[in-house]
């Protein structure tokens, strides 16, 4: 059996962007190193020594510092990367290795550069070496603390930025949902069809055209103002649906009839705006419009204990007949998402076959506490 090209092999030869060594970061970290090297050279020359040979001290300091730094920061970046915080014990071990190594190899390198033997610096055991080692250790510790503090700050800033981005995203989604809601409500197709009917009526039946225009104005005003509010009374929602169905009835003529059932005590109950609109649109577009005879849409509200039950019932083709027109069926899932975001698991939307043929969409949500 021939071997196929293994994708694993291909992956292994191309390092992914995430695991690349952060050279840029290492370079940035090296800037404070330069200052520290000069500072150490100054201390060694003027505090420990007699003020002579600053250049030699600088070379030694630079060699030791650079090698220590490359080992410690290099290992840190290679193992933990830029953003993760190293474990203090492990990092301590890295320092414990890095410092003596830096001291020994740095001193030898400096000796080579300066053309002299710096025995007391790279041969362990002498007092001088121990002292210098301690000094290097202190310097390294200082710089490590400095880096750690700076990284902590950077991490805190990154977290804050992430939080800000999340808040912004949430806000943006809310805004987008609102926009989508608006677009869904005033579907261009519906608007153009309504205008076509209006145009016709103006010529053949001006009084009826007047009535239709009133309904259109009511519908537009209702949708535009309600999509900006948090909640609308059921009575207002039903008025809006009445305007919408009125417009649809002008278009469909005899093929569409509709009825409302809103008990008096529920008129002031507030619900999220435009909740039923997409379901009513579905009932017409998928249930009634594809049938030659058309049919009836009934919209009702009921209280069941501490739940509010809203139903949209049609006697059309039923839910199993498939979509009546092209387009994704987003109405139902959008409504579900909206309710879930607002009320969580205590709400729901279902679409079933209605007992008398056709479909029934049920919306359940918690009864609001107070009526306004």
């Amino acid at each position: 059996m021939p071997l196929s090209d293994s994708p694993v092999l291909a992956d292994a030869t191309i390092p992914s962007a995430r695991s690349r060594f952060p050279w840029r970061r290492l370079g940035k970290d090296a800037f404070p190193l330069v200052g520290l090297v000069i500072l150490c050279a100054l201390i060694v020359t003027y505090a420990f020594g007699d003020g002579s040979d600053f250049l030699a001290s600088l070379v030694i300091s630079a060699c030791i510092g650079t090698i220590s730094f490359c080992i410690i920061d290099g290992v840190r970046l290679a193992v933990w990367g830029e953003s993760r915080r190293p474990h203090w014990l492990a990092f301590g071990a890295v320092i414990a290795v890095g410092v003596p190594a830096g001291q020994i190899f740095g001193a030898r390198l400096a000796g080579l550069l300066l053309g002299m033997e710096l025995k007391q610096l790279h041969t362990l055991g002498t007092t001088r070496t121990s002292g210098m080692l301690l000094f290097t250790l202190l310097a390294t510790g200082g710089v490590t603390l400095y880096f750690a503090g700076r990284d902590r700050l950077a991490r805190a800033e990154a977290a804050a930025a992430q939080e800000r981005a999340r808040a912004e995203a949430v806000e943006r989604q809310a805004l987008q949902a609102q926009l989508q809601l608006l677009q869904a409500q005033i579907e261009p197709h519906m608007l153009f069809n309504t205008l076509a009917n209006l145009q016709g009526l103006i010529a053949i039946d001006p009084p009826r055209a007047q009535r239709m225009l009133d309904q259109l104005i009511q519908f537009l005003r209702g949708t535009l103002s309600s999509s900006r509010s948090q909640a609308t009374p059921l009575a207002q929602e039903f008025t809006l649906l009445d305007a919408y169905l009125g417009l649809m009835a002008v278009r469909m003529g005899e093929r569409l009839s509709y009825s409302f059932d809103l008990p008096e005590p529920l008129r002031t109950v507030r619900i999220p705006p435009m909740l039923l609109q997409p379901l009513v649109e579905n009932a017409i577009a998928h249930g009634l419009e594809p049938t030659i005879a058309g049919g009836h849409v009934g919209i009702a509200a009921r209280r069941e204990g501490d739940l509010l039950l809203l139903t949209v019932t049609d006697n059309g083709r039923g839910p199993d007949a498939g979509p009546g027109k092209e387009g994704t069926s987003v109405g139902l899932s959008n409504t579900r998402e909206r309710l879930k975001a607002l009320f969580g698991e205590r709400s729901g939307v279902t679409l079933d076959a209605a007992p008398g043929g056709g479909a029934i969409a049920r919306v359940t949500l918690p009864m609001p506490d107070k009526h306004e």
């Binding site: 197709h189 076509a196 145009q199 016709g200 010529a203 053949i204 003529g253 594809p290 027109k325």
Partner: protein
């Protein structure tokens, strides 16, 4: 001289408006039927044989496109095939260059000016048409239908190529290699798979089946038929201009719709 026309439109106000506007722009035109859906339009057009049809595309039951195609199938004279004008709402179908190419496509809401252009073009056509060889209006309609029928999906969006058909026959599932199929025939909610040695039903529609077939081998030749081009022996045109196919391995004759007649033109 009066010209007869039929209007098919499911929205009563729009139908009345179109009739009124046509009455203003073209007084000699007589509307002989107003049909609320595609099926009625088909029946009335066959019965009354008007010279012009105004068909709304989106109607319940049968669309204007389906009604036009079936009318082309069933038209048998004696009068020439009618001129067809499609009327459609905003963005229902991509208008493409179609809007400039023909008077046979108007958008709702219909403007007087646009309809006047359509009327002029129809008058000109009705004058020259009788002089043209048979099938002038029909040919125009077929061009329209081809332009309006959604093109095959892009290869990326295509479902898997079908190689083997699993069809339930009694209490067994028969495996039929697609290459053995002579033709597929739509039967209500099923498709009848016909091979040289038998038939089997599968529960799908021709519409769903078509994208899964190799279009170089399997040709749609009718609303209800997809034929294996390698099994076509000959295409015969009868006196009425209707095409039928004679097949290898099968005694049946297969009807070709005018919409697909171009597949069988001689080279």
């Amino acid at each position: 001289m009066t010209i007869t026309a039929l209007i098919a439109e499911d929205e009563p106000i729009l139908a009345a408006t179109l009739a009124a506007t046509l009455g203003r722009l073209w007084p000699e035109l007589k509307i002989v039927a107003m049909c609320p859906h595609g099926q009625a339009a088909l029946e009335q057009a066959l019965a009354l044989q008007p010279e012009v049809l105004f068909l709304d595309i989106k109607m319940p039951g049968k669309t204007g496109l389906e009604a036009a195609e079936e009318l082309a199938d069933e038209w048998s004279g004696p009068r020439p095939f009618p001129q067809v004008v499609f009327v459609t709402a905003y963005d229902e179908y991509a208008v493409r260059a179609f809007d400039n190419a023909a008077a046979d496509y108007v958008l709702k809401p219909v403007s007087d000016e646009r309809l006047a252009r359509t009327v002029e073009r129809l008058k000109a056509r009705l004058k020259t048409e009788p002089a043209r060889p048979d099938g002038g209006a029909l040919e125009t309609l077929m061009e329209q239908l081809r332009a309006l029928t959604p093109a095959a999906p892009a290869p990326a969006a295509r479902p898997e190529r079908l190689t083997l058909i699993r069809a339930a026959v009694g209490n067994q599932v028969r495996m039929i290699p697609v290459t053995d199929v002579v033709y597929f025939e739509a039967l209500d909610k099923y498709v009848n798979v016909v091979t040289s040695d038998g038939e089997a039903l599968i529960r799908t529609s021709l519409k769903e089946l078509l994208p899964q077939l190799d279009e170089r081998v399997f040709w749609q030749v009718h609303r209800g038929t997809i034929v294996n081009s390698g099994c076509v022996l000959a295409a015969t045109r009868d006196d009425a201009g209707k095409l039928t196919l004679t097949l290898r391995h099968r005694p049946e004759k297969v009807r070709v719709s005018p919409l697909y007649a171009h597949l069988f033109r001689q080279m």
